[in-house]
């Protein structure tokens, strides 16, 4: 039974959102409209995270980025508040 690619993608997107929310203080409140239209905050934080980890900065949720996000790590955010 192959996994539903749509579901898998959805899971990854949730994971990324939670990760960026936890470690890159992804701000969603008050910017729902913008986020829905263009995903700008998510893309921007993804770029920030990819740059921090020395990944190729694509702004897209590629496999390398997901792999890093799944690794055990420190709970302290990577960017200061």
């Amino acid at each position: 039974f192959p996994a539903d690619p749509k579901t898998e993608h959805e899971e990854s997107r949730h994971l990324a959102q939670a990760y960026l929310d936890q470690f890159y203080t992804l701000e969603t409140e008050g910017s729902h409209l913008i986020q829905n239209k263009s995903n700008v905050p998510l893309d921007g934080k993804l770029r920030e995270m990819q740059a921090f980890f020395g990944l190729t900065v694509t702004g897209r949720l590629d496999s390398n980025t997901l792999e890093i996000m799944k690794q055990p790590r420190c709970g302290t955010p990577d960017v200061g508040q």
Partner: protein, 414 residues
């Protein structure tokens, strides 16, 4: 690296362990926490004191599912392992470990020492580093805990906040290099070595050639990599072998090769068990006996029978009156024995049993001050005068022959 100033405004920081994980022995937890803090105190002027009551600067705890509302929740097994707050009052500095992880003191689970060391970096004001080799890189990687997990990036980071520690060992002292013409030069051992004389000192040696007015200075390891430094005695026997002594061991060298099966124990040569080291050794080419000097006594070893002679040890002063003690080094050159004691060298005539000259220990090197009294130079002078007259050579050889015969007869009689 990244950091937050000003860090702690003090250098004495307290910590308290609020609870323990059931995954490990309490003592192992305490050791991991203490070692993790020591890692930082070694490179920055910080001291950590453990308290068991009250409010410590760094409160250490194992927790599950905490930080729920904050964007740093402990998320069950795997995922987030630990969290720490930057320096400050209240929760500032506090460090939490996710109890849902499997904490270990080795690599079978998550190594508490490594995670604690990382978290304490935050407690002291460091943020994450994007250098994957740094301890402050945010993702967990097991590193052999016997090696310091701190990278240069981590050290630079913590020192940017607190400065460098006076406890950080300074650059290792460069080993001192002995100077051939130092008037205070002493030797560890001296021996002939084929057509050379070799002077040992610490990690180094000087070698002089009989026919060449050159002094070579080398590391002992350049010639014999497996020989130790600071050797204590050496001599060359009549079988083209050189024996090197340190403590209760000796090595046998043939040319540049250390013979297999060495080091051996000096007790194999016949020394008693209470002898712990040899000060000096001298091989007499005429009698083929070797003298071993230990404190104020000497032994005599028969190289032909390969055995220590009976009736020894005897007092050095009895056979070699007047030479300085202890004997640091000794060797035979032509018909004389040369004894080294501190910065002095005693030229000894074994036939007449008296000291013929007292020299500086380094008189064999071409130092300007000792140039005229150097036996090395007397050798050169002798060599130069050789061309003057065949008669002189014959007369000298005849005298030398008479000396040798007399000496041999004396030794046999003795």
């Amino acid at each position: 690296y990244g950091y937050t100033l000003p860090g702690w405004r003090k250098h004495r920081i307290t910590y308290r362990i609020l609870n323990y994980t059931p995954d490990m022995e309490n003592s192992d937890v305490e050791e991991a926490i203490q070692k993790a803090l020591e890692l930082w105190s070694k490179v920055a002027p910080l001291t950590f004191t453990r308290i068991s009551k009250g409010n410590a600067d760094i409160m250490v705890a194992f927790r599950t599912r905490v930080h729920g509302k904050c964007p740093r929740q402990f998320d069950g097994p795997l995922g987030v392992l630990g969290h720490a707050f930057p320096p400050g009052p209240g929760i500032g500095g506090d460090t939490h470990f996710d109890e849902d992880e499997n904490w270990t003191k080795d690599s079978s689970g998550f190594n508490l020492f490594l995670v604690a060391a990382h978290e304490f970096g935050h407690s002291l004001g460091l943020s994450h580093s994007n250098d994957p080799s740094a301890l402050m890189f945010p993702n967990y990687a097991f590193i052999d805990p016997s090696k310091s997990p701190l990278s240069q990036d981590d050290i630079k980071g913590i020192q940017a906040i607190y400065g460098s520690s006076s406890k950080v060992p300074a650059k290792p002292k460069r080993p001192t290099i002995p100077q051939a013409c130092d008037p205070n030069l002493t030797f560890d051992a001296v021996t002939t070595f084929r057509r050379e004389v070799v002077f040992f000192k610490d990690r180094h040696l000087w070698r002089i050639y009989y026919e060449v007015s050159e002094v070579e200075f080398e590391l002992i390891s350049s010639f014999w990599p497996s020989l130790p430094d600071d050797i204590q005695a050496a001599y060359e026997n009549n079988r083209d072998e050189t024996l090197i002594f340190k403590d209760a061991n000796f090595w046998k060298i043939n040319s540049y090769a250390i013979l297999p099966g060495y080091p051996k124990s000096i007790y194999d040569l016949g020394f008693p068990r209470h002898t712990k080291k040899i000060d000096a050794a001298l091989f007499n080419r005429i009698t083929r006996k070797t003298y071993f000097f230990v404190e104020d006594k000497y032994w005599r070893y028969d190289e032909i029978n390969q055995s220590m002679e009976k009736g020894y040890p005897r007092r050095i002063a009895r056979l070699f009156p007047g030479i300085g003690l202890p004997v640091d080094a000794a060797f035979q050159y032509k018909r004389f024995f040369y004894f080294f004691s501190g910065t002095k060298q005693f030229e000894f005539n074994p036939v007449t049993r008296n000291i013929t000259r007292v020299l500086k220990a380094n008189s064999w090197f071409q130092c300007q001050k000792t140039l005229n009294s150097s036996p090395y130079n007397s050798f050169s002078q002798e060599k130069n005068s050789n061309s003057k007259s065949v008669q002189v050579i014959s007369r000298k050889s005849f005298i030398l022959l008479i000396y040798n015969i007399t000496y041999l007869l004396t030794e046999i009689y003795r």
